[in-house]
Each structure stands twice: as structure tokens, then as C-alpha cells.
């Protein structure tokens, strides 16, 4: 049994909050730069240029990429041979978020849902835990902004629905988001499971590394490991669906900042899970171009 102190969790969560909010994920920065090269001279290219500049300023100055520093979603994969000592794990995560947001001078955006009173600490976090083999703890912090969160959707299809219906639904959700949710988007899709499982999968799909063209043919390892859902084998039906969706979405001509262009989505990631004979839940999560996350393994 390996012991990990709650203090270590606090410290790591605080640092991850700061990293995620000030340093754009290298995979996303990479794909933004690629899109910048692909767009012809014009508005779309200029917007992408500003976003790349924004990432550089945020990193250099240590300020938030976006003023919506989000509600902190914290994914914990806890090795079953780990014991947390010196306090509760949940409290440690929330303390880490509180400290990280204060040190980073980030916005406290968390309020009571009824009174709308701000909690003043950006807590509580949304915590997802999963027990896995081993003696390590893998922590991923995802500051989730609500410009794009507000555009998410879930639909419970009949089991006899065609793949075409599902595809249309997903494209429609992106079309509905239109220029509002800071395109170009990362689109996360969860297909199967139950109501909440599909939603959770669509969120986890946003954490998968956005492939650069050279690695598209290799296996793409997710930021969140996929021990309890199927990792799509490349060139299988799921990766085919991802490619088709990306192509269709990029025909919407929403473009960077909604001003038109070839780049409406930077990536589409689909995760699946077995479901019930009577149904087919499909969830879509929209991630903005500043889709943020940071991970560390203790």
C-alpha cells in the first residue's frame, strides 16, 4: 500500500489549475498553427493569428488564456494500492482548486444555483474518480468555461436509429453553437451507456490528444486512460465516424470566431460504451479553441 499525503494532492491540483489556465495544450496550439497555415489570407487567418498570439502572451505573462477560467473539473484515476493520508481526498482537491485559483488571479465563477451567490473560491470542483490498478494517482484538471458548455446537448435515440440520424444530430449541435462558443471547436461525442455515461464520455472525449497529421495513423492515447470504455481502434468504425464528422462540420463554414472559413472544428473525438437494447444515448460536448486541461501522475 503506497501512501500519498493529502498535502501532495493539494499542491498538485493547485499547480495544475495554474498550468491549465495559462498554457494552451501543446496539441491544440499545434493544430491551431496548422490551421493558420491552411487558411487563405483573410479574416479566418487573422483570427487564428490572434489566438496563437494570445497563447504566447498568456504563457509569457502568466495570465489566463481566457477570462472564463471555468468551473474546475478534476479527473482522478486512483490506483487501488494507494492510501491517501492526512485528510479527505475530496477536501484536498477543493483546497487545491481554491489555492490554485487564488494564486493564479483567476476568476471565481462558481455560484449557488438558486441564489446565484458566488462561493468566492471557485469551489466546489466537479470531481470524477475512477479506481484503477496500481499505486499511482493520475490527476487531470479541466477548467471548463460555460460559453461552450451552454451549447452541449444530449439526445436519447431509439435503438433502431440510423448512424446517419446520429451524425446529423451531432452536426446540428455544432451548427447551433454557431459563432457563439468560440470556434474553432473541439467536439467530444459520447455514444452509448446511459444518460449520464454518454455525457461523461463526451467530456472525456475532449481530453483526448488532438492528433497532428503525422500521428493520425498511429494509436492516439487519451489524456484520460480508457480502461472502462472502448478505445476506438484506428480505421475502425469509430475513427471513420470521427473523420466523417470532422469533414461535415468543417463544411458548415462557421470558421474561427464565426466569421467563415475552413476551420470550424479542430478535432472530433468519439468515445463509445455498450448500451441497452431499448436505447441509444448520444451526447455532444463542445470545447472552445481554448480547450484547457493539464495532467500529472503522482
Amino acid at each position: 500500500m503506497r501512501k500519498i499525503s493529502a498535502h501532495t494532492i493539494i499542491d498538485v491540483v493547485a499547480k495544475l489549475c495554474i498550468k491549465a489556465n495559462t498554457e494552451l495544450r501543446p496539441d491544440i496550439l499545434g493544430v491551431l498553427k496548422r490551421s493558420f497555415r491552411c487558411e487563405p489570407a483573410g479574416r479566418a487567418k487573422r483570427v487564428l493569428g490572434v489566438l496563437i498570439q494570445n497563447a504566447a502572451i498568456a504563457k509569457r505573462e502568466g495570465i489566463a488564456l481566457c477570462q472564463d477560467t471555468g468551473i474546475a473539473c478534476v479527473y482522478l484515476e486512483i490506483g487501488q494500492d494507494v492510501r491517501i493520508t492526512g485528510g479527505s481526498l475530496e477536501k484536498a482537491v477543493n483546497d487545491g482548486v481554491r489555492i490554485g485559483y487564488r494564486r493564479g488571479y483567476f476568476r471565481n465563477s462558481v455560484v449557488d444555483p438558486i441564489s446565484r451567490k458566488n462561493t468566492g473560491t471557485n469551489t466546489p470542483a466537479i470531481i470524477h474518480t475512477r479506481l484503477v490498478k496500481g499505486d499511482k494517482v493520475r490527476i487531470t484538471v479541466v477548467p471548463k468555461g460555460f460559453g461552450c458548455e451552454n451549447k452541449n446537448a444530449l439526445r436519447l435515440f431509439h435503438p433502431t436509429a440510423d448512424l446517419e440520424d446520429i451524425r446529423q444530430f451531432i452536426v446540428d449541435v455544432v451548427a447551433q453553437a454557431g459563432p457563439d462558443a468560440c470556434p474553432p471547436y473541439i467536439v467530444g461525442v459520447g455514444i452509448g451507456g446511459t444518460f449520464e455515461k454518454a455525457a461523461a464520455l463526451s467530456k472525456e472525449a475532449l481530453l483526448k490528444t488532438v492528433a497532428s497529421p503525422s500521428t493520425v495513423l498511429g494509436m492516439v492515447r487519451g489524456v484520460v486512460s480508457s480502461s472502462n470504455h472502448r478505445q476506438s481502434p484506428v480505421a475502425g468504425p469509430v475513427s471513420r465516424l470521427e473523420k466523417e464528422l470532422l469533414k461535415e462540420i468543417n463544411k458548415l463554414n462557421i470558421g474561427p470566431q464565426g466569421l467563415g472559413g475552413k476551420t470550424t472544428a479542430l478535432a472530433v473525438h468519439v468515445l463509445t460504451y455498450p448500451t441497452h437494447i431499448a436505447g441509444l444515448p448520444v451526447a455532444v460536448s463542445i470545447g472552445c479553441h481554448a480547450m484547457r486541461s493539464a495532467t500529472r501522475v503522482i
Binding site: 498570439q53 494570445n54 498568456a58 488571479y105 458566488n118 454557431g178 464565426g258
Partner: protein, 172 residues
């Protein structure tokens, strides 16, 4: 690129066309969801407002806090459509322009035409970049709202695009 010095005068507004890229210099007031709700409530009750709306440029923004030695934190636009229900009343009260991101409702577009106002869009998710255009920031009202308070921002060459012009033409 066209430079505009605030406050806006109506002759300038008339000349702007959807899609024009302009650099704004002068005074903006931030206001997002809760501030909008309160402003419209106060207007309905005929009570005084914390800021003079006549000629004001409202910026849909809730900035992050300023690090020591900095003027402001990250300060990009938030989604405009959430303000749609409140916008016609604020334009009627004299607001001249808004800055945000994304689409507006037909009612807002109609009000923009009616009052000869203008809706600008700024780059969403580029709050660090936009913070470099802010020269001064002070709280102007609704202090208790924290990040949702109304701030008076002094900006220089703040880059925006005309989203909806005074004739009601939209970029989207």
C-alpha cells in the same frame, strides 16, 4: 484599420458597416448577465443607475483579477445572446454600442436599427491578448457582484469588428 475615439457620435455610427474592422479608444463599461438584470430592474423602477448609459459602450465581459503590477487580468468577451432579453431596454435608455461575441436575436437587431446603435464583436477566447489594450480599470458599480461588477475600462486601439450595424445588417 479605422480608428474610433469614444464616445461614439451618431454620424460615425451611421458610417459603420457590418464586417468593418475598427480600433476603439476611450471608455467602455463592462456588464454581463447579473449587471444587465439589475440595470433593467432599476430602469423599470425609475431608480438611478450606477453609470450614465447615454452614449455608453457596454462590453460583455467579466475579467479575471489583475496580478500585482498589472492593470487587469484576462478580459475577452462573453456570449452576447444571453444579454438579448435586456438589450432593447438599455438601448432605449441611451446605450450607443455593445461589444460581445456571437449572434443577436431579431429583437435586438430591430432595436439596434431603431436607436441607431451598433454591435461590435471581439475575439472570443483571446482575453490575454485583449488585456494588453486596456490602459485603466476601475470598479464603477455593483461592487458586490465581484467579477460580474461593472468596470470602467479605458482602452487604446481595442480591436473589434462591426457585428450588426445601425441599419441592422449582420455579419453572421
Amino acid at each position: 484599420m479605422k480608428k474610433i475615439f469614444l464616445p461614439l457620435d451618431y454620424n460615425q455610427v451611421k458610417k459603420l458597416k457590418a464586417g468593418d474592422e475598427v480600433l476603439l479608444s476611450g471608455e467602455l463599461y463592462t456588464a454581463r448577465d447579473q449587471a444587465h438584470k439589475r440595470l433593467v430592474d432599476l430602469l423599470k423602477k425609475g431608480r438611478p443607475l450606477p453609470v450614465d448609459l447615454r452614449g455608453a459602450v457596454l462590453y460583455y465581459c467579466g475579467p479575471t483579477a489583475a496580478r500585482p503590477g498589472r492593470i487587469i487580468g484576462s478580459c475577452g468577451p462573453t456570449t452576447s445572446s444571453r444579454m438579448d432579453a435586456f438589450t432593447p431596454a438599455l438601448l432605449e435608455a441611451g446605450a450607443a454600442a455593445m461589444i460581445g461575441k456571437g449572434c443577436r436575436s431579431p429583437e435586438v437587431i430591430q432595436a439596434i436599427r431603431k436607436y441607431g446603435a451598433v454591435y461590435f464583436i471581439a475575439a472570443g477566447g483571446a482575453g490575454a491578448y485583449l488585456s494588453t489594450k486596456v490602459k485603466k480599470a476601475t470598479v464603477a458599480g455593483f461592487t458586490d457582484l465581484g467579477p460580474e461588477a461593472v468596470y470602467r475600462l479605458e482602452v487604446k486601439d481595442f480591436p473589434v469588428m462591426v457585428g450588426v450595424d445601425a441599419k441592422g445588417r449582420s455579419i453572421y
